[in-house]
């Protein structure tokens, strides 16, 4: 079984982004970018499935600028076999990413497509669900456990009430949640090896996908700052303040 895994290049989770003064977006110049953390988890899961003999080949895909090649190299260093960069400088929204992934899935015919549950820049949480819809295949979102067996995959999902398990007919689309696994760090030899693994570059146009945004961003603003609070000396003062000042207990 082949696995397709989608990896997005995003502003590193440790960076506290700043809104641009013209309100057109957030400052992205000279800051650290990394693979979306949920996508690292998706790659790790693919590699473990290959190590277990369930998967035979792992193809990593990233949609974005030339620099997204670095993100693909990270996936290759973790254990993916080859990469596909769908190169574009344009703003690409989840529906367009899903359409691109659909094209590639039709070409590659993976048994499983793995994505992160959410990109930590746009916080959309849509792409996997959309891809499953476009492929007419089942979806297992927010996965914390996978078990592949005879043409189906059991996915344990993190839901608001706890955990839920669903069984999906393969091929299926699964999105990774935080507790699915702990991604490995790529070793130096594997980073070196990854440099020799193939990365193919295509464009959305060549795939025939219209990527024009459907959501127009009118402005991006900083949220209201909270008023600075006070430090209280002890628990007794805290209880007193909550009762008579804040009046919340």
């Amino acid at each position: 079984m082949k696995i397709l895994v989608a990896v997005k290049r995003v502003v590193d989770y440790n960076v506290k982004v700043r809104v641009k003064s013209d309100k057109s977006g957030v400052e992205t110049a000279n800051i650290k970018f990394s693979m979306n953390p949920f996508d690292e988890i998706a790659v790790e899961e693919a590699v473990r499935l290959k190590e277990a003999g369930t998967a035979t080949e792992i193809v990593a895909v990233s949609v974005g600028p030339q620099a997204a090649t670095e993100t693909l190299r990270t996936a290759l260093a973790m254990g993916a076999d080859r990469g596909i960069l769908v190169q574009t400088e344009a703003e690409i929204q989840p529906l367009a990413v899903a359409k691109i992934l659909k094209c590639l899935a039709e070409k590659e015919q993976p048994g499983l497509v793995l994505l992160g549950k959410q990109a930590i820049d746009d916080d959309s949480n849509q792409t996997g669900q959309m891809l499953a819809a476009l492929l007419g295949r089942p979806q297992g979102t927010f996965a914390s456990k996978l078990a592949v067996a005879d043409g189906s995959v059991a996915v344990t999902r993190e839901v608001d009430g706890g955990l839920e398990t669903v069984a999906l007919e393969l091929p299926a689309v699964v999105t990774a949640d935080l507790r699915l696994n702990e991604p490995r760090y790529a070793s130096l030899p594997n980073i070196m090896k990854a440099k020799k693994k193939p990365i193919e570059t295509v464009t959305p146009e060549a795939l025939g996908v219209d990527v024009a945004p459907r959501l127009i961003t009118l402005s991006v603003e900083e949220p209201a700052k909270r008023q600075a609070g006070i430090k209280v000396a002890d628990v007794a003062t805290l209880v007193e303040k909550l009762k008579s000042e804040a009046k919340v207990i």
């Binding site: 949480n125 849509q126 891809l131 927010f142 608001d160 009118l218 991006v220 805290l238 804040a246």
Partner: protein, 310 residues
């Protein structure tokens, strides 16, 4: 055009986030129709018909809908979609699972987790863990939207008198099958709608120590939450997680105990009315958002707090 809202329900009751979603729907103009889908949902339909602001309740009865699986539920909503200008669901794990599937089948974008309606085609949504607020306009004919409950005061649950209409359920795909659920049981209020939340972080050191928070929660009628670190360490189940990728809460009072205040955690609680932080490190970032900060060892402070509330 009318607005379709997917109702979320459990054991004959509407989940609270449905009411916030109805409130958002009312802002869009047009009749609000509430879709109650499931098996044996007659009682929920009656409850739904009383929500103020709802004009009609659509009831879809089917064994195939007994669990809110994305594949059949999305197919049902898509069949209803031509009559609507907007389709809304709460930004719960169910809404987030189903609605993007609906959007893609309709070839439209989804607007995720709106916190405000600016105009029927323009919405505000947080991005980058809530460090920025984007105002976006949808150019699609049908707007498919998930609603962050904390952005909207809930609609009034009773006093309305909507009509109830049973709808024909089309053939639904059977690509997925519900196997089992392991749901957390608790006598305490539900995390996302509780008036008071007390959360513990890695500083709690173990799951056993969460009883220190629970005894205070019981005194205050509060829900118990946690940071990702506390969940990852296995102190408490995943459904306790508050944050960018967990639950978003905005109670009247949020008490963070042994939580450092990473941006991903703040994203889930910084809209709370009053924030209290208890942390032994006076430099902890959580103090930057706390109205009342107590620099103390939690193992000393929590028993004192419980005493102080008696």
């Amino acid at each position: 055009m009318s607005v379709l809202v997917l109702a979320e329900h459990e054991a004959g009751a509407l989940k609270p986030a449905t009411l916030n979603t109805v409130a958002a729907a009312v802002r869009l103009g047009g009749d609000v129709h509430l879709l109650v889908a499931g098996a044996g949902v007659a009682a929920v339909a009656q409850v739904a018909a009383q929500v103020v602001g709802v004009a009609k309740v659509l009831v879809a009865e089917s064994e195939a809908l007994a669990h809110p699986l994305a594949e059949p539920l999305a197919a049902l909503i898509v069949a209803l979609a031509p009559a609507y200008g907007h389709i809304l669901a709460p930004a719960t794990t169910t809404g987030k699972n189903v609605l993007p599937r609906v959007a893609a089948l309709l070839d439209v974008a989804q607007v995720s987790e709106i916190v405000a309606v600016v105009a029927p085609d323009t919405f505000i949504r947080p991005i980058y863990a809530g460090n920025a607020l984007a105002t976006v306009r949808s150019i699609d004919a049908i707007k498919v939207i998930t609603v962050r409950a904390t952005g909207f005061e809930p609609a009034v649950a009773s006093g309305g008198a909507a009509s109830i209409e049973a709808i024909a359920v089309p053939g639904l795909p059977g690509l997925s099958r519900f196997v089992e659920a392991q749901l957390s049981k608790s006598e305490r209020p539900e995390l996302t709608s509780a008036r008071i939340v007390i959360s513990g972080g890695r500083g709690m050191q173990s799951g056993d120590n969460f009883h220190l928070l629970e005894s205070i929660a019981d005194k205050l009628g509060a829900a118990v939450g946690a940071s990702r670190a506390a969940v990852d360490a296995g102190f408490v189940p995943n459904d306790f997680q508050v944050g960018q990728t967990g639950k978003i809460v905005a109670p009247d009072l949020y008490i963070a105990v042994g939580i450092s205040g990473a941006i991903q955690h703040l994203a889930g609680m910084k809209d709370s009315k009053v924030i209290v932080a208890i942390n032994k490190d006076e430099e902890a970032p959580i103090f930057q958002v706390a109205d009342y900060g107590l620099v103390a060892d939690l193992f000393k402070a929590l028993p004192e707090l419980r005493q102080g509330l008696s």
